[in-house]
């Protein structure tokens, strides 16, 4: 229960007649409350809880579930996983301290090194492709198109379902030996093969799937483009800038905050892709480990082979790599990210 004084302070001490009714009503209610009688009303007397104290307690109260999750499901497990990464642990016998053995083993593990290569290739091709496609479509949509809500929604739809098993199942068929993609190639007279079954092309089918979900990045770009002041383009036109220069000197700099945001999120997400690779390759990462994403290999080591120590070490390598990438992005952002209000 809040004390009378607290409330009077917040309300601005003396009240006018218009509020008299509320005041009596409140006073009546408070008088019947036992705590109200205990409230030390003497001026200068110490109160058990100051208003800010009370607010702090309320704040921690509201955060209680989050604290619980943070400690029990995030920070605690992170520390435990760091410990496990220096051990050998199969869930059945207690963890056995092995020092740096797991980390050293990675350097000699050809499947680990391969999974790093596969993941990097995936990220390095998929992320720029997504950015270019999403920005291009967003710019077309920003040219005062009619039916904008329809287009926006339709382009966005794949983002919602791209990580589902259903779409991965569909992708298997589309890029399989007798799939739709080959049927389309057949129309133009090219004889296809199984793109999923060929180690040279399997990863590209997954990259295609990832680019297919460009809609979420597009919506973020579109929101940014709509805020670019029209006068800037007009001013640039008057100064003789063509479409290319207007894009390079007006659009791009103003979009850098959103480019920053999209690069960061798309990259972090791409590193964590799992379901498509798992379903398309039946959980093997095949053919010939060509779709063995880092996350898939981690899953295999941890949950198929029960090498919890090695899997934890792999997880921590990923955390460090993504942490370094994020730090790099933030550190370089002041050289290339322009915020409008700076100038």
């Amino acid at each position: 229960m809040r004390g009378v004084r607290d409330r009077a302070q917040e309300a601005g001490a003396p009240r006018d007649d218009a509020r008299g009714e509320t005041l009596t009503h409140e006073a009546g209610r408070l008088a019947t409350h036992p705590a109200a009688a205990l409230d030390p009303a003497a001026p200068g007397g110490r109160r058990p809880l100051s208003q800010s104290r009370r607010e702090a307690l309320a704040g921690y109260g509201f955060l209680a579930p989050w604290f619980g999750g943070m400690l029990l499901l995030t920070l605690g497990p992170m520390i435990y996983s760091l410990y496990l990464s220096f051990t050998r642990y199969n869930l059945l016998t207690p963890p056995e301290w092995r020092g740096m053995a797991n980390y050293q083993r990675m350097l000699d593990d050809p499947r680990f090194l391969n999974s790093v290569g596969v993941t990097l290739k995936y990220v390095v091709i998929a992320v720029p492709s997504i950015l270019v496609v999403s920005l291009a479509v967003a710019m077309i949509l920003n040219m005062g198109m009619r039916f904008l809500p329809f287009y926006r929604a339709a382009f966005y739809l794949p983002s919602l379902i791209g990580a589902s098993v259903a779409i991965a199942v569909l992708w298997r068929q589309i890029f399989g030996g007798s799939g739709v993609f080959n049927a389309a190639l057949d129309v133009v007279g090219i004889e296809g093969k199984s793109w999923i079954g060929n180690p040279d092309t399997a990863l590209y089918t997954l990259i295609t799937l990832s680019v297919w979900t460009f809609g979420s990045a597009m919506i973020i770009f579109l929101a940014g483009l709509r805020q670019v002041p029209k006068e800037l383009y007009e001013a640039a036109s008057v100064d003789g800038a063509g479409p290319v220069r207007r894009f390079l000197n007006v659009t791009l700099p103003l979009l850098t905050p959103l480019i920053f945001f999209n690069v960061l999120l798309t990259t972090v997400n791409a590193f964590q892709a799992f379901t498509p690779a798992y379903v398309v390759s039946n959980g093997t990462g095949g053919p010939l480990d060509s779709t063995l994403f880092y996350t898939l290999y981690l899953y295999q080591r941890g949950f198929s082979n029960l090498e919890m120590g090695y899997a934890s070490a792999m997880a921590w390598v990923l955390v460090v790599v993504l942490g370094l990438f994020t730090a790099f992005m933030f550190a370089t952002s002041r050289f290339w990210v322009h915020y409008g209000d700076e100038k």
């Binding site: 607010e55 497990p77 435990y80 287009y151 339709a154 966005y156 589902s164 990923l318």
Partner: protein
């Protein structure tokens, strides 16, 4: 204006005949729509094709590019629903229960945390907020193994608890962020007025903030629904008994059991598994798109 700017030849050279310009504009506009529709067609073609394949008689070939063969049948749906030892009524029920509980959990825990971050002052608030933001970028793999060990110790394997309980502990920081951003836009005068009327923080939260945050809560519910419904890794780790499977696992099990031999029923079930998402999307796409534009959710 432009006449006084001799340094701008491109502006001066532009044709000034209004009629020709508007005609050009119409052509350009049609061309743009054509380009967009073409891209859209390519993007959405796989989905249309899958829908077509799901109602195609099973004796017709599936490696064709056409959408409709003229013969419609619902046999694939009938066959797929209880294919072999699969039981999609059960998978849909399991997915539904998990999804509803996750939505309740996220709304409950994330709105509480968001109110604290958006409205209350307390020591270490900035540090905690930064910590919360930091977890948004944290790869979930780092907690995958230890969480599995924890839930294994608690004997929660083959129950839905490992999938649901974390949502009640606000582990999806994205939604906290989304709601913080939203609550910050609500006028503080409302809080003050409620306080005058005798509301404490719980009262303000329940009577003022929650009702006004319906749009943000709706976005949270929708994204939680989509994430949970699509989730595959979580159920794959924690639900090993086929009668506990979710729809996503059922589909994967279908593929494992039949390989490439029963495309029709497989695509019928795949289509059904996407139907709730696409349905909700059509109903609430405005909410989703506003949500993503303000917070960058995927």
């Amino acid at each position: 204006m432009s006449a006084q700017a001799p340094a701008a030849p491109s502006v001066l050279q532009r044709p000034v005949f209004g009629r020709r310009q508007s005609k050009n504009r119409a052509v350009v506009s049609i061309a743009r729509h054509a380009v967009l529709l073409l891209i859209l067609f390519v993007i959405l073609y796989p989905l249309l094709w899958m829908l077509g394949a799901s109602v195609r008689p099973s004796n017709e070939a599936f490696g064709t590019i056409g959408l409709w063969s003229g013969n419609l049948t619902l046999d694939n749906y009938r066959e797929g629903w209880t294919f072999g030892s699969l039981n999609f009524s059960r998978y849909f029920m399991n997915s539904l229960v998990i999804t509803v509980l996750c939505i309740i959990g996220n709304i409950f825990s994330c709105s509480l945390a968001a109110y604290a971050f958006a409205r209350l002052e307390f020591p270490f608030k900035r540090v905690l907020f930064a910590l919360m933001l930091g977890t948004m970028l944290l790869p979930y793999h780092v907690t995958l193994v230890p969480q599995y060990i924890l839930f294994n110790e608690l004997a929660w394997i083959n129950t839905i608890l490992p999938l649901v309980v974390p949502k009640f502990l606000a582990t999806d920081a994205f939604f906290i962020f989304l709601m913080v951003q939203f609550i910050r836009t609500l006028p503080r005068e409302l809080d003050a007025a409620a306080r005058l009327d005798g509301c404490g923080h719980v009262g303000i939260f329940r009577r003022i903030i929650l009702p006004l945050s319906i749009p943000a809560i709706g976005t949270t519910a929708l994204f939680t629904f989509i994430h949970t419904w699509n989730d595959f890794l979580g159920p794959l780790l924690y639900l090993n008994q086929p009668d506990k499977w979710t729809v996503a696992q059922g589909l994967n099990g279908f593929l494992d059991a039949t390989g490439e031999s029963a495309f029709g029923p497989l695509f019928a079930m795949a289509t059904l598994s996407l139907a709730p998402i696409i349905g909700f999307f059509l109903v609430a796409q405005k909410l989703l798109i506003e949500g993503i534009a303000t917070s960058g959710l995927k």
